[in-house]
């Protein structure tokens, strides 16, 4: 029997990874964000899970637009770090857990979630930046095996927020019956408000983000009721990535304890957010 011990929600902006890779984290533009990460990283270093599940989306690196799976899971024993055009990030490849992947696949399928299966997958910044937010200096390997769970957030219609939240709940049930590990960490990635294209490019909505940061902890049902149009209007066309935080939240207990949160504008064109939750409230 396995137990989710924490959930980490974080933006996955490529420039956050680039700032780390290029040693720019102390620059005035970046220092507030990376200083903000500090307490979360310390807590996470003391609470290493046996395995982790990372919910993310690809950005034209591991998959293209020929096939657009709404929900998908990786079942590989290793995921190479993608070369997004100018060399791969200098971080370790990701060791997977096929045993957990197949357990999740079967249990989620039995629970009504018909996932696409990736037997091979290169993971891009959407995956590696959250790992770097968690573990800035991984050495030659990440803290534990990680299973990728992909959500289509790029091509409309994305899955609804309600469906993402329901997937998270099913994920939580599936994890509970897994006998191959004891402790599990869940990462929900993307967001917060941002829009990259169109006359509204550069849009940031701190009020919506503040509401989201509070509700993801205390009232996820309220967020699950938001429509796609609500997300695109209030968080920007790329802010809809926040639906992936709901998969993470759904896999956790009704009540969680916030360990730490960070909000910083900008990480390039994006409002960067982090929220770390302990699934074992004191």
């Amino acid at each position: 029997m396995s137990e989710v011990i924490w959930g980490l929600a974080t933006s996955h902006v490529p420039s956050i990874g680039a700032a780390m890779d290029r040693g720019m984290t102390a620059d005035p533009v970046w220092a507030p964000l990376f200083e903000g990460y500090g307490p979360a990283r310390e807590w996470l270093a003391d609470n290493k899970p046996d395995v982790a599940i990372l919910i993310y989306n690809d950005h034209a690196n591991g998959i293209d637009l020929d096939i657009v799976p709404t929900f998908a899971i990786g079942t590989a024993d290793r995921y190479e770090v993608a070369d997004e055009g100018f060399g791969r990030r200098p971080v370790p490849d990701v060791i997977g857990s096929p045993e957990l992947s197949f357990h999740l696949l079967q249990n989620l399928m039995d629970d009504g979630f018909d996932l696409t299966v990736f037997q091979e997958l290169d993971v891009d910044h959407g995956f590696t930046v959250p790992l770097s937010v968690w573990t800035p200096d991984p050495g030659d390997k990440w803290p534990c095996p990680v299973v990728p769970l992909l959500v289509n957030v790029i091509q409309y219609p994305q899955p609804t927020a309600a469906r993402c939240y329901a997937l998270g709940k099913a994920l939580g049930r599936a994890i509970a019956s897994f006998e191959g590990a004891r402790t599990v960490g869940i990462l929900g990635t993307g967001g917060m408000s941002h829009q990259l294209a169109g006359a509204r490019a550069g849009f940031i909505n701190p009020e919506f983000d503040a509401m989201f940061l509070d509700a993801i902890e205390n009232d996820p049902e309220k967020l699950a009721a938001l429509t796609r149009e609500d997300f695109i209007r209030e968080a920007g066309s790329e802010g809809i990535e926040l639906i992936m935080w709901l998969v993470m939240r759904g896999a956790m207990n009704a009540e969680v304890r916030k360990v730490h949160s960070v909000y910083h504008v900008p990480a390039s064109n994006t409002a960067a957010g982090l929220a770390l939750f302990d699934n074992q409230p004191a």
Binding site: A60, L65, F86, Y156, P157, G202, I204, P206, R233, V265
Partner: protein
């Protein structure tokens, strides 16, 4: 009867199915530019490379002229268009400036000042 279409929000591109279908060949070209060999092929003969991927005349013109706005209008996904911009040494802030009628410096300054909260 038609199915429900994506929302129409001012100043916002919603990359929906029909848009993706329109831009598929062009987006595939952009994704190919991840490899150095493909970038060399492209730079050696841009019109030929566009023809090989089956771009329309409008799309070819947009790509050759680096008309970023037209690429969006012709079905480009910003994540894919960005591959071409990166090859040209341009940033997402540069593109943000193009889309909003600002210089890259002004767009960056607007982001550093807290982002465009009034649009």
């Amino acid at each position: 009867m038609t199915s429900r279409i994506s929302p129409d929000l001012p100043g916002t591109y919603v990359f929906d199915g029909p848009t993706s279908r329109r831009g598929l060949r062009m987006n595939k070209l952009f994704m190919s530019l991840r490899s150095e060999a493909a970038r060399a092929d492209f730079l050696a003969d841009e019109p030929g490379y566009c023809a090989r991927f089956g771009l329309t005349d409008d799309q070819t013109e947009a790509v050759l002229g680096r008309d970023w706005q037209a690429m969006l209008d012709l079905g480009g996904s910003i994540f894919y268009i960005y591959k071409l911009a990166m090859m040209d040494g341009l940033s997402m802030q540069y593109l943000g400036g193009v889309f909003t009628g600002m210089s890259e410096a002004d767009f960056k300054a607007a982001m550093l000042a807290g982002g465009r909260t009034d649009v």
